[in-house]
């Protein structure tokens, strides 16, 4: 089966500082791929390259290819708005907009021009159910999204991403601001979501990578050191540096 996303020889620079070196990696459809590594290893930059979120950073430059279903998202003909619709993102800090819960989830569909109330209601309900938040918020859907707890806010952000029917969901350390119970909820949710979506998660937490993912990539100093089946990578790392990292010798 062809990969959902294939990156080929990605180099990435902030100004003159190179943060990614020749990263080549295939991401399988309907699976969870974890990217781990110590802080500053380039894993988040790599993730943000997959839906061109780095475009908004001045003086950032990328070379190489990112193929989504075989077509390069950095080519001149590509519509970046379309890419971001297909490849959604959940951020490290839950970032609900200062709007009601309903309007947060309805935001994406509205931007696509859907304004029909009953249609929006259906989408919002479906998305909140898919993000396992519906039962908790169905009676206060017009309350501000900022009034929710951290874990609920993060699930709201996931629901919001789901509402535009993405194919891929990128998660940038989605649990690092959450307590263990909320983290567990998000991890269970990811497990349900991978039936319909391709998920790529960045984490600095090895246990999390081992728990949730089928594929794991280990980044160090801007390089993809090792990439493979999660069970293999944790049991029989091929690279000495991977072994050092997962046995806790650094990082």
């Amino acid at each position: 089966m062809d990969p959902k996303i294939r990156t080929a020889n990605i180099d990435f620079f902030y100004g003159s500082r190179q943060v990614l070196r020749k990263v080549t990696l295939d991401i399988k459809e309907y699976s969870i791929t974890a990217l781990m590594g110590p802080s500053g290893c380039g894993k988040s930059t790599f993730l943000r390259a997959l839906n061109r979120m780095n475009d908004i950073i001045p003086k950032a430059r990328l070379s190489g290819q990112v193929l989504l279903d075989g077509s390069d998202i950095y080519s001149a003909e590509t519509d970046v708005v379309e890419v971001r619709k297909r490849v959604g993102m959940v951020f490290q800090q839950p970032n609900p907009l200062p709007k009601s819960i309903f309007e947060n989830v309805a935001f994406g569909p509205r931007m696509l021009g859907i304004n029909h109330r009953s249609k929006l209601e259906k989408t919002v309900e479906r998305s909140l159910k898919a993000a396992a938040l519906w039962d908790e918020v169905k009676d206060c859907i017009d309350q501000s999204g900022l009034a929710l707890s951290g874990g609920q806010q993060q699930r709201l952000c996931i629901a919001r991403a789901l509402a535009v029917d993405p194919e891929v969901i990128l998660m940038d350390e989605p649990c690092s601001a959450l307590d263990p119970v909320a983290t567990l909820k998000i991890e269970e949710l990811m497990y349900d979501l991978k039936k319909e979506y391709t998920i790529v998660i960045v984490t600095h937490n090895m246990q999390q990578a081992a728990r949730v993912s089928e594929w794991t990539g280990f980044f160090l100093s801007g390089e993809l050191v090792e990439y493979g089946k999660t069970s293999e990578l944790f049991k029989r790392p091929r690279d000495k540096r991977t072994e050092d990292y997962i046995t806790g010798r650094f990082g």
């Binding site: 951020f91 800090q93 970032n95 907009l97 935001f107 931007m111 535009v164």
Partner: protein
């Protein structure tokens, strides 16, 4: 001589308190004096009859109130769309280049230019070249030029204070850049933009020098934006300088202060309601 830390602490505390009390007292004295001299003159007749003109300063201030309302509405209608556009350009679109640094430098400089110079510019351009004559339109256009720099700077700061995570949220959902600005950034910056608008209204209500040379001094009821007119502060100026009716001037000042307080209170209330609605308060 060296003071112990405790003594410096007490000294600093004393100085800071003294400074605060002096500032409060001078405000109270000014407002109190004006209220004492002017409040007795403020009655329905004063508010609802036009000035009779002449040296006596007899009559009320109805036409000045209407002129002031005209000036505020027109100035804000001209300045806010232009200013918001410029602020959005500077905060969201413009990259740092020599062009934007010239624009920023120009704005900083204009913010410090005395208002009479704006007045002369308005007189030359709007009154003379464009033949708007001495009119509310000329006055409002000149005032708009005067308040634009402050409005642009204050709203640019408000836009820049919107967290990047909001922009990322919008963009990551497939919103275009403009959709993100219009639907996410501007609503989040609205309290700050409202504050910028209040500052402009305050400036417009208080300004005399630049209106003196662009708006004329007609005490008649304005019939259109092309009528001449006098705002409350201009009327106050005429009363104080050219008539013997100092008590009427004080009464006008009372009304002016009341209007400014009312506008501040109303806008504060508005922006607090916005904030409450956004955060679920």
């Amino acid at each position: 001589m060296k003071l112990s830390p405790k003594a410096t602490q007490r000294l600093a505390w004393g100085i800071i308190w003294a400074a605060g009390i002096v500032a409060m007292l001078s405000l109270l004295v000014i407002v109190g004096y004006i209220l004492m001299r002017g409040l007795g003159e403020v009655d329905p007749e004063f508010l609802l009859t036009p000035p009779r003109g002449g040296l006596s300063g007899e009559g009320g201030i109805s036409t000045a109130i209407v002129s002031t309302a005209y000036i505020i509405v027109l100035t804000i209608a001209i300045a806010t769309p232009l200013g918001l556009g410029a602020a959005i350009y500077l905060a969201e679109y413009a990259a740092d280049s020599w062009l934007t640094s010239i624009i920023r430098y120009g704005i900083e400089t204009l913010a410090g230019v005395p208002s009479i110079i704006f007045g002369l510019f308005g007189f030359a351009l709007f009154v003379t070249v464009l033949h708007f004559n001495f009119s509310i339109l000329s006055g409002a256009l000149t005032l708009a030029c005067l308040v634009l720099p402050v409005f642009i700077r204050t709203s640019e700061e408000a836009l820049k204070a919107v967290p990047r995570s909001y922009r990322e949220a919008g963009l990551a959902l497939g919103a275009t850049r403009w959709q993100t600005i219009a639907q996410v950034v501007i609503p989040a910056a609205l309290p700050g933009i409202i504050t910028a608008t209040i500052l402009c209204i305050g400036r417009a209500v208080g300004e005399t020098a630049c209106l003196y040379v662009t708006m004329g001094s007609s005490a008649a009821m304005p019939t259109s934006f092309l009528s001449s007119g006098r705002t409350l502060s201009l009327h106050l100026f005429y009363l104080a300088m050219e008539t013997r009716a100092l008590d009427k001037a004080m009464a006008t000042a009372v009304v002016l202060i009341a209007i400014i307080l009312a506008i501040n209170w109303a806008t504060n209330w508005l922006s607090q309601r916005f904030r409450a609605r956004m955060t679920g308060g």
